[in-house]
Symmetry: C2
Subunit: 715 residues, 2 copies
């Protein structure tokens, strides 16, 4: 797994490949010239003991100095009472310092450490910002001290740091060596993941326990992996991505150099919903926003460590599915049917193969074999295990096939005392060559993945699973995402901030951005009403909307269906008497039955900035939670994909005898609104509700903007 | 696992516990006095060789006779050329005969076998009804011959039969001994399942490869397990449940004696939809009908062998979840959060614990522990592993907790050289006692399920999993289903079959069953129209519906919103001119905005008989596929649960400011329609579309019935 085992003897002070997002070098963190453990302990249950032991194991030609304020012997080594003493012992400035002291000693310890030349600090000490304001203040001071001397700090409240490419293992358990950088907010989850990776013959290139991220954040550490040669994929466990925009940028940069990012970020079950300053906000959960960020970044989201390990295994091979169409290759109808269900459950398709492919398969197989899809050898493999390989090669060559799932008994013959055992192993060898010589993924499910056949295939980079649902999930994770939308990383600032949040002001703002509205006259008097009624382009029926109310549809602020001037005058008078609004908007009433009503809005997420949301109006978005989100701004192309991802999308495409709506115009409107939101950080919400999408036009029927600071407490 | 190992030396000809649905004894099948293999072969790749070997291995004190028409030696044994010779050799009538001859020899072989006294036949021979009409005829004749002599027949096209409680193993591989009866249409799937069961220290009590089910069906074999002492659960793989009603009855009978039924029946991906003789039919997939049957039977449906083995392991313990509320017990926040998501994904809840429970937990744990839910020991378990047990006991005693999921590091200490190892093992022993002494299930996820702690818990019947999603799925499978609805097994027959499928006739039929309709006058002339218009209870606006058309809403057959008599007369005249209908229904127009429109229908499924379907009108049912199905007839209580299972159910309960609908009246209507469908087998479809459910009444606005034979080809 490891491609570069030996660390540099004399690491350059600022080498390539170590620049974090902050621009500071992380060399001293991942490849230190020396390690000092302060708070080294003789008690084997303490972190100060465990990390001292690990530091000594990691030493090789790297000096290790232990500091214990009482100077007791630790692990058979003498200790120093102060960091100054440690520096004197070392004969040169300290490099990496591991801090295991109690919280009350943190600030003086950091001061001493940087005073003695420390360039990087791994702070195990807990009981700081995670416990409240006092701890947060101490934490900030520690970071200030470190930064003032140009040192970088991991933690506090961190559980260690590993770089297997430099033989540095500073964590509770020794981690298996491999190519996955693991950045995590949980220690136990990483211990779990490490065992799963090892079971799959994978391992860790780097591990950083993020702790409170007071100085170095997950984004800095992601950036440090971009040109770390020994890292080929990045796995992240995070309960709160603090700088969501930077996360997206860093994940894109990793992808650009061929390093997939897999994110485990729980919260589906308690998915926090923003306080409802707008309908859009009430329909936007934190969980969905993280999904949108992963889509924008081309990162993969997983739910648990098993799924993470499985997907990493698949992603470490270069093969990807260009689309969602899978061919199933089986040796029994039962396994084929079960596999079809497993693929459907993860959103993949098992389409009937084209006639050319079927003909090619028929020419190779027995009469009893079925060739449509699933392709069922039906005993042909028992006659000649090479039938599996020939069939697989034909399927991989078929244009309509994006990937192949092999399922059933294959892999079991090699575990038996059978004349078929050597034949199956020989077939697996040819199969490995066939698969690795082409670009489409193959995933295998077998009763005996631990057998020789399974082992041989796995060594060739072909995922081999015991369980069909796991195999299907990996294939789903290997589907190529659409190309990244470059607009999602731009946040253009408008020349003027919005100050007018009136209905008129909101309409003007959206209209200037290119959104179409129905006609409207804002009237302040009976005379102005008469002028509006004289506008023959309006026609009847009319709608009156009372201005100056947060929710026009509540409290009788909207009167619909006024059929003539007499009814309009009466309604106007009644509205003045009832609500005394500062103004009234007079608008033609639109026949909403001739189109599809949507809600289109943007909110400013405290982590990820502007987010655009679209859903069908009424019950679809609110009762059925059928909404789609993206990090704003989006291109029209991305907006179109967003619309088509709605469960109710068939209604836009002409289901139930409707005319299809003008998807291009609708996507364009979404894109424009998303750019508007991006350019106006002073707005926490922008909303068009409803928007009426017809077959040849898209018209907004109402508009609203909300000024304010985004909430930072979402949990 | 095995509770009764020894077979009876002289099995009684008709013992208890062996009565299939047909009432015929299966003693000679599962505990034969002798075994005869006809088609015994010297070629080790042939079934006639493999099953001869298995028969000899199964023999003990059971005579085995091999028949080979050429009389060649097989497995070192002499063979006989005919079954008559075999009988002479045996000195008594044959008992079980395994038939491995080519298809062309099937009929004479069966005739010979029953002539020589065979009481049971396991027919491996393939190439019969599965290949077409000729084979089907031969198969029918074979069954006729067997039945005429009182013999039972498994297969043809079967892959063997096993009863480990009588040491009978007649299948390709030896199966592990255990308590699960496996009835399967696929051989390879059972080989897969058997390995999974063995991995979980479970095994097979009986295995029957169902083959073509020409004589004994899956239902007969289910029935035979009801009082088979060595069977404690029944696992079924079936691609087509031929007699669905009998399946439901047999599964209920098994449940009644405490034997859970787990069904794997693929088809989700290609879920066949009935030809659309009605909207109801077009909205009813075969896959959903099987789900409805499982709900009616209290059977568990699974998607793949892994899920089946996992759930069987859970079901073999007596503990069940009375509801869906789970407490998570963890030793790390990360595992707790991931577990919460895993439970949500399978429809379980992780509610905040009540204050009494929290107080009890706080009294036991450290300050850093969180007690809300997930309950996070946060290091308390590292101090004292018994903390896990005390916390678990408190959670199990809490009334608001239906089951507990333990997740994280626990189970790992015992795999390490640590002073905690013996303490963890001791804690696991106490934990096992705590769990087994009470009725709620506990499922454990741990990094090292293979360790001593995991092993100890598993031995006590506590499922221990490596993966959190698997652990969550098992808990979901242990939720108690609602009590069976007794009405679902009754099919009362109406005195008179329906012959009048006109709109009037359909309305009368439903109305007689207690369904409320709007007023309607069927008019055949202008004079009758005037009489209808004179009915002052009707009011305006009115609706006209042209009779005699399949789809009234197509082709201008319905005219809405006629505001007065003048408009009504004009519309009537225009309708006559346009469509010349035999009659026209004149009805008051109902304001559908004051309620929720539903579609309510029944179809007669070729496998499962009458099925009732309900969904919200329009796009909900058709575009979003939000429909709920049940085997008809249903009680009002079951109908209510059906309504509440809709995704759009909040609309019935008063979402978005609506008044809640009269759920009791709606459930009553569904129940009545389902009974009507059950009583009229001559109807393939009955439909009320739409039904308008208001806050105090339920009114059908249209009605339709379709006569005909149900289609038997669904795939």
């Amino acid at each position: 797994m490891r491609r570069q085992g030996s660390r540099q003897q004399a690491p350059p002070r600022s080498g390539p490949g170590s620049a974090p997002a902050t621009g500071r070098s992380l060399d001293a963190l991942f490849d230190p010239g020396s390690i000092t453990v302060v708070g080294a302990s003789a008690d084997s249950s303490k972190w100060g003991n465990i990390l001292s032991r690990r530091a000594l194991e990691s030493s090789r030609d790297r000096p290790v100095v232990l500091v214990n304020r009482r100077g007791v012997e630790v692990l058979g080594r003498r200790t120093h009472r102060t960091l100054a003493e440690a520096r004197a012992q070392l004969g040169e400035p300290l490099d990496l310092v591991v801090v295991c002291v109690p919280a009350v000693e943190l600030i003086p310890t950091i001061a001493e450490a940087v005073g003695a030349g420390a360039r990087s600090l791994v702070v195990i000490t807990a009981g700081l910002s995670e416990l409240g304001a006092d701890g947060a203040l101490a934490e900030q001071e520690a970071v200030r001290l470190a930064r003032a001397e140009g040192a970088v700090l991991v933690g506090p409240n961190c559980l260690g740091l590993v770089d297997t490419s430099t033989d540095l293992q500073l964590s509770h358990d020794l981690l298996p060596v491999g190519e996955v950088a693991v950045l995590s907010q949980s220690g136990n989850v990483v211990l779990d993941l490490a065992v799963l990776l090892k079971d799959r013959r994978l391992g860790v290139s780097r591990f950083v326990s993020l702790g409170n991220q007071a100085d170095l954040s997950v984004v800095d550490l992601m950036a440090s992996c971009i040109d770390h040669d020994d890292t080929r994929a990045v796995a992240i466990y995070s309960e709160d991505v603090v700088d969501g925009r930077a996360f997206v940028t860093a994940a894109r940069a990793l992808r650009a150099v061929g390093k997939p990012v897999v994110l485990m970020a729980p919260g589906r079950s308690t998915a926090a919903v923003r306080s409802a300053v707008s309908h859009t906000g009430s329909l936007t959960s934190a969980y969905q926003v993280v999904d949108a960020a992963c889509a924008a970044a081309g990162a993969h989201r997983v739910d648990n460590p098993t799924q993470m390990a499985d997907l990493l295994q698949g992603l470490l091979s270069p093969r990807r599915m260009p689309g969602r169409d899978v061919a199933i290759l089986t040796d029994g109808g039962g396994h084929g049917a079960i596999a079809g269900d497993a693929l459907a459950a993860v959103g993949l398709e098992t389409p009937v193969l084209v006639e050319d492919t079927c003909a090619a398969l028929r020419a190779q197989l027995r009469q009893s074999s079925t060739v449509s899809n699933p392709v069922d050898l039906a005993g042909a493999g028992e006659q000649d295990p090479l039938a599996y390989v020939r069939t697989l090669a034909t399927l991989l060559a078929a244009e309509e096939v994006d990937g192949v799932l092999v399922t059933g008994y294959f892999g079991t013959y090699s575990t038996q005392e059978s004349t078929l055992a050597p034949l199956e192993i020989a077939a697996a060898q040819v199969m490995a060559d066939v698969v690795t010589g082409q670009p489409k993924p193959v995933v295998v499910q077998t009763i005996h993945p631990e057998g020789k056949t399974g082992s041989l295939l796995r060594t060739a980079g072909i995922p081999v699973h015991r369980d069909i649902d796991r195999a299907a999930a990996v294939l789903a994770g290997l589907v190529e995402h659409p190309a990244r939308d470059p607009e999602q990383l731009t946040l253009p600032t408008a020349d003027l901030a919005v100050t007018d949040t009136s209905y008129d002001g909101a309409r003007r703002l959206f209209a200037d951005a290119g959104v179409s509205f129905t006609l409207a006259h804002t009237v302040h008097s009976s005379a102005e009403l008469e002028a509006a009624l004289a506008d023959t382009t309006m026609g009847f029926p009319l709608v009156l909307k009372a201005m100056g109310r947060q929710h026009k549809s509540e409290g009788g602020g909207v009167v619909l269906g006024l059929r003539d001037a007499v009814e309009a005058r009466a309604a106007y008078a009644a509205m003045l008497a009832r609500l005394d609004p500062p103004a009234v908007s007079v608008e033609p009433m639109v026949d909403t039955s001739r189109g599809v009503e949507l809600i289109l809005g943007c909110v400013r997420d405290p982590r990820f900035g502007p987010v655009v949301m679209v859903g069908l109006g009424g019950v679809f978005a609110e009762v059925l939670a059928d909404t789609a989100l993206a990090i704003a701004p989006v291109s029209a192309g991305s907006a179109r994909r967003l619309l088509l991802s709605l469960r109710a999308a068939p209604l836009l495409l002409g289901a139930r005898g409707r005319e299809p709506v003008d998807l291009d115009a609708l996507a364009d409107t979404i894109s424009r609104v998303s750019h508007l939101a991006a350019a106006h950080p002073e707005l926490v919400a922008l909303e068009l509700n409803p928007v009426l999408a017809g077959s040849s036009a898209v018209v907004a029927l109402d508009a609203r903007v909300v000024l304010g600071q985004p909430s930072t407490s979402r949990r």
